[in-house]
């Protein structure tokens, strides 16, 4: 009897883990709870040590911070609110509230990797769209397959013609409903690991393994590279010159032209949909700013290219001249200081839109 009970319990447990780890909604709800609690079942450290510390688990670079380290001040602006701001962004911007932006009547945030993007434009206001993307994904995202999804999913009428030039992967054209894809979450292994092993009380074991690897084999586990001075972690993909995400992998003129053409297509598309202006905001890889020697110049080359129609939120130049620490040592994201500089640039643009009818 006991044996039977154990077997059925294990079956239910296994199916439960697979279900929970597959479901994006359930995982989202669980992580919201677990990431913020200090209880034994929490995964507090995931949220507070930095995403790369959680890949590397190196005690030496551990730097505790709270999500409240991000301070969102109301901008000093008392003018009109004639702008509707649409942010098509990634993890850099998804925590920024509408109150941080100046003169915004309505703010909509859309995850940049969403498959279905629908914007409800209000023609009585100025509609501004910002495409925010971390530098490491610019070449992949605007140079290739994913672009096809964005334009395809929101394309209408005359713009349909421009879709044909984007490469299609053949498997995608098989007649499967999207709902089947929900059974096959590509992040399932990370989710299972999170559900089974990512508990504050188990971190000691991870740290022991990571320390062993670091001290004996001189390498960090996971996809993380330790800087030469041992004080900063970088995502390996941003350093490996063989990868497109890297700040050091060469960008050919042909590739740059392709990205610009795609950005121009996106620009024309959204302008035709009714947006008053589009802005591109590329957040530099930490290594681009911290170790600029050998940088492939992706951002400045794109920003300075006269063929580019889309307008720019230029944070690269601001960061180059900044005299403060912009990125967290154990995280691929910015410090509050880095974020504030970016918000400031966005607000400059928003104020112009509110104060003038034409903006260059």
């Amino acid at each position: 009897m006991l044996k039977k009970t154990v077997i059925y319990a294990l079956i239910i447990f296994g199916i439960g883990v697979l279900y929970i780890s597959t479901s994006r909604d359930v995982m989202w709800r669980i992580s919201q709870e677990r990431n913020e609690t200090d209880a034994w079942w929490g995964a507090h450290d995931v949220n507070h040590l930095g995403d790369m510390v959680n890949l590397a688990y190196l005690d030496d670079i551990k730097q505790f911070h709270s999500s409240r380290d991000y301070a969102f001040h109301k901008p000093e602006y008392n003018g009109s609110s004639n702008v509707n701001l649409y942010m098509n962004g990634d993890s850099y911007t998804f925590k920024i509230p509408d109150t941080a932006f100046a003169g915004v009547n309505r703010y909509e945030y859309v995850w940049i990797y969403s498959k279905h993007i629908k914007y409800n434009l209000d023609t009585t206001k100025k509609n501004i769209l910002i495409l925010e993307n971390a530098e490491r994904y610019v070449r992949i995202f605007f140079g290739g397959l994913d672009l096809f999804k964005i334009v395809y999913d929101s394309a209408k009428g005359p713009h349909q013609a421009s879709i044909a030039k984007f490469p299609k992967v053949y498997y995608a054209s098989f007649p499967f409903p999207d709902s089947i894809g929900a059974f096959f979450n590509p992040n399932i292994n990370q989710n299972i690991e999170y559900n089974l092993f990512n508990y504050n009380f188990l971190n000691g074991i991870r740290i022991a393994k990571a320390s062993f690897n670091y001290k004996v084999f001189n390498r960090a586990s996971g996809n993380v590279q330790i800087s030469e001075d041992g004080k900063q972690l970088f995502l390996k993909e941003t350093i490996d010159s063989k990868r497109q995400e890297s700040s050091y992998s060469p960008v050919s003129d042909e590739e740059l032209t392709n990205i610009i053409n795609n950005l121009n297509t996106i620009y024309d598309h959204y302008r035709a949909e009714g947006f008053d202006e589009l802005y591109l905001a590329m957040i530099p890889n930490p290594v681009t700013i911290i170790n600029p020697e050998g940088y492939n110049q992706l951002i400045p080359r794109l920003q300075n290219d006269p063929r580019l129609k889309i307008k720019l939120i230029d944070i690269y130049s601001t960061y180059q001249n900044a005299d403060t620490v912009l990125y967290r040592p154990g995280d691929s994201h910015w410090y509050n200081s880095g974020m504030q500089l970016w918000i400031k640039e966005v607000n400059k643009m928003l104020v112009k839109w509110n104060d003038t009818t034409e903006v260059n």
Partner: protein
């Protein structure tokens, strides 16, 4: 769903436990079939349609072949082979063919170019296609009866422990086991689990660790010293062995837990004293497939020395291109063909091998095999040539091999442990319960602390 993923471990636990609770063989077959579909769909779910297509075609072909006589019988077999090879050629070789045609057109200064297709190779296509063809050929030869129960036949093709990277099974071995469940056996469960753990050890402790160095050396071969290049070649030889045989161990072990015995795929290939022995120990299920369905039908060694040599060349060339649509694989197969023809040596069974007496032959065979693996690993022929000339011209350069010296020695140590264990203790049976518990818990600890978990795919998945 990679074998070295948490998803697989949970999936395996659930499927196996349900399998043991079911009472009829039909329900067990349905369970394994659904589980195998889920397993395959977790890679690229759309590609289940391709697998379903070839499975249905071969199922119908098998029945029609059995029911027909004479030319009709042959026609059904040919139709089945065309369907299978057609899918394989389209997905695996179409762009390669286009590439070569375009290169040829450029030679004649033609500006015309045939467009490429943006297709992704379905995972494990070469494996399950060959397994499916094995069934229709055996039915045609009347060595196997057609399977009328569709789920049983579909499971023969799709059985998840060997679906995406073999062993490439034969219907005579698998179908009877699927038709008749032999019952729950604690010894098989223990043996299966310890075999799986051994496979994981080879994959995550050895192969994925060696990959750190191998990837670095091959990516920087122009800047690496000849010593580093030699180390890279040796490490890659063990990486590919531990990666592929580790996968086979996990698959064979997983099937064994359910009391299903899959064929062996490796028998200590690097202890082979000559090239013929090597090929009787390396990827046995593929070598024997080519022997049974290509070499022997071509005449084998029955039609004189010249034709025997021709047949060997054909088999090795096909075997090379089976691995991938790249000239590097073709050259690799061709060179093995040359060796197997002109320096064959006698086949020596692992159990009869005297290690001391054959040490020099074993070492020489390993060196040759390791050298040829460079073609297998290189990006293209130019890269392979640069790598090999770098070794023989004693190229100056960096000694950075992507891992530190401690890890290099540790790698050699675990390789030594692996070779010793497979030579001395090839079986995975542990009779004592306490020893078994110690072994399993020890292995789990070793896997966790010394495993390299970098989401590495198995090398043979790409084939």
């Amino acid at each position: 769903m990679l074998f070295n993923s948490l998803q697989f471990l949970i999936f395996f636990l659930v499927v196996t436990l349900i399998f043991f609770r079911l009472r009829t063989q039909r329900s067990r077959i349905m369970l394994l079939l659904v589980a195998s579909c889920y397993f395959y769909m977790s890679f690229v779910y759309q590609y289940i349609l391709i697998l379903a297509f070839t499975t249905i075609v071969d199922y119908i072909a098998g029945i029609l072949i059995e029911k027909s006589e004479g030319r009709k019988r042959k026609a059904w077999l040919i139709a089945s082979i065309i369907a299978n090879v057609g899918v394989l050629v389209f997905y695996k070789y179409f762009n390669f063919l286009v590439d070569n045609i375009n290169d040829t057109l450029h030679l004649f200064d033609s500006s015309r170019e045939i467009p490429y297709l943006n297709i992704i190779l379905p995972i494990g296509l070469s494996f399950h296609t060959f397994q499916a063809m094995s069934y229709t050929i055996e039915v045609y030869w009347r060595k196997q009866k057609a399977e009328y129960h569709f789920p049983t036949y579909a499971l023969y093709v799709m059985f998840y422990p060997q679906l995406v990277a073999g062993p490439i099974e034969r219907p005579q071995n698998i179908l009877p086991q699927l038709q008749q469940y032999k019952g729950y056996d604690i010894n098989n469960i223990r043996e299966g689990i310890s075999r799986m753990l051994w496979g994981y050890f080879k994959k995550v402790v050895i192969a994925d660790r060696l990959a750190l160095a191998v990837d670095h050396i091959f990516a920087n071969s122009e800047q690496t010293s000849w010593v580093g290049l030699c180390v890279g070649g040796i490490l890659y030889s063990f990486q590919i062995y531990c990666d592929f045989s580790g996968y086979s161990d996990i698959g064979i072990g997983a099937a064994r837990v359910m009391n299903i015995k899959l064929m062996e795929n490796f028998k200590q290939p690097y202890l082979a004293p000559n090239i013929t022995s090597f090929w009787s120990r390396w990827h046995i299920s593929l070598s024997s497939w080519f022997r049974d369905y290509v070499y022997i039908p071509l005449g084998g060694n029955r039609k004189g020395e010249t034709k025997r040599k021709r047949n060997i060349f054909v088999v090795f060339l096909l075997s090379g291109f089976w691995h991938g649509a790249n000239w590097t694989f073709g050259i690799w197969g061709f060179l093995h063909g040359v060796l197997a023809t002109f320096l064959p040596g006698k086949k020596v069974a692992p159990s009869k091998l005297k290690f001391g007496r054959n040490a020099i032959n074993i070492l020489a065979t390993f060196c040759v095999v390791a050298l040829l693996w460079i073609f297998f690993r290189a990006e293209n022929i130019g890269h392979a040539w640069q790598y090999i000339t770098g070794i023989f011209t004693l190229q100056d350069g960096s000694y950075n091999i992507g891992i530190n010296i401690t890890e290099l020695w540790f790698s050699f140590f675990v390789i030594g442990v692996m070779l010793w264990r497979e030579y001395k203790l090839p079986e995975h049976k542990i009779n004592s319960r306490s020893k078994y518990i110690v072994y399993v818990s020890g292995m789990i600890a070793v896997l966790y602390f010394f495993g390299v978990f970098e989401e590495n795919q198995f090398i043979y998945f790409q084939f």
